[in-house]
Amino acid sequence: MESQFTSDVMLSVNGHPQQLRTDNRATLLDVLREQLQLPGTKKGCDHGQCGACTVLLDGRRVNSCLILAVTCQDAEVTTVEGLSSRTATHTAAPPDERPALHPMQEAFVAYDAMQCGFCTPGQICSAVGMLEEALGEASAEQGVTLDEHEIRERMSGNLCRCGAYTNIVAAIQSSIGVAAR
């Protein structure tokens, strides 16, 4: 590969610095999956139409399939694999030394907010991003209320073909309840 078509990129993924040489064409999604061995982020459409590839980029939820990795210099990326280890939760770690789940992951388990599970990493990252956005809006005094209707609208960038929406909304609502305590 001629050097003009590749680039060196430094970024942080789930808290770990990564120095990469990447094909300029490679998306963040493909780099996560194929170079960094983080296959938790899924490719459902590769065109920003399904949300399965949602990750947090500098804290904001984005479609990693539409982001060229080469543009991610100095970026901080959090994938579903990083959520569980990123956040210390109030919940004790499960007995078999699995890392503690993020509260949103716990809520998805508790409400069976998944079936095939393929959209689930994107749903969870998106829900975490959504709560951050709502907190930001609330602090900007725009009076956001994440009621059921608002959650549905704000989560509509994540398709779930198994039809787990009913349970996903319930899981997110419960997670908000936990966060508010």
Partner: protein
Amino acid sequence: MRPFAYQRAGEAGSAVAEMARPGAAFLAGGTNIVDLMKLGVTAPDLLVDVTGLPLRDIEELPDGGIRVGALTANSDLAADPMVRTRFPAVALALLSGASAQLRNRATLGGNLLQRTRCRYFTDVTKACNKRRPGSGCDARDGEHRDLAILGASPQCVATNPSDLAVALVLVDARVELLTPDGPAQMSVHEFFRLPGERPERDTNLPPGALITAVVLPASPIARLSTYRKVRDRSSFAFAAGSVAAALDVRDGIVRDVRLAYGAVAHRPWRAYAAERMLRGATATVDSFERAADEELAAARPLRDNAYKVPLIRNLTVGVLRGMTEASW
């Protein structure tokens, strides 16, 4: 997708200079161009990444207008308190577009330059005068349920997919540019165009120019604006039809009105004929209906998109009626 070179632009001048190189294209949020590169619709040799340029400020102008840096993310623009109070149609249009993930990444400048979602434009095996001038238009007799009813040409029946653009033509926004010849600006009305015989041109943006900002000029009526979008599903879909409107009614008479339509034409469609008919008219359903009919008299629906004519007509009436009742 063929290999391409990549450069991060350090400042706007050099970015514009790089665009003189053959096959160069700007990259901002990438939500449209990366999509199109994967499809083979566009194949740049060089991507000039402008996201490092300092074009993200939202600043208040002395007269109460707002200048928005072209790299402002859609979500940030929609959340801006000044925009929400002074230009509610702009915020509503932004929030009705795409998904939260895409709005976090997509930029104002990129939104203005996003390309049609006509299925024949995005499929490189089909004839499309916009993608390959002279190849024909497979959409006109094909799957065109989403396509244009106004201002189309024999060469092209594509629609502009942007929600934001509809609100921008409503409020007479100005687009600020950096061209190879220096800074320039143009009205958003000049910026967008109808396809005519040159559908390969989406806009009248000068070649090689970079959008640096959009100015939302101070306007009392814009505070009274709204946006309503209709699509097949409840969210995360391009419009089947949309209406942006601003209405000033006093004593039952329309003092001033602005009206613009989305998803009906190659450009966001300012409904001047309807506006002319409404100014000074009584603010009644009957007036609204006649105004919409006046505007839509020029509609030339295709085989499968005639539903858009009553849709836009009803939306016009419904939105104006709602605003009239709200002003009581």
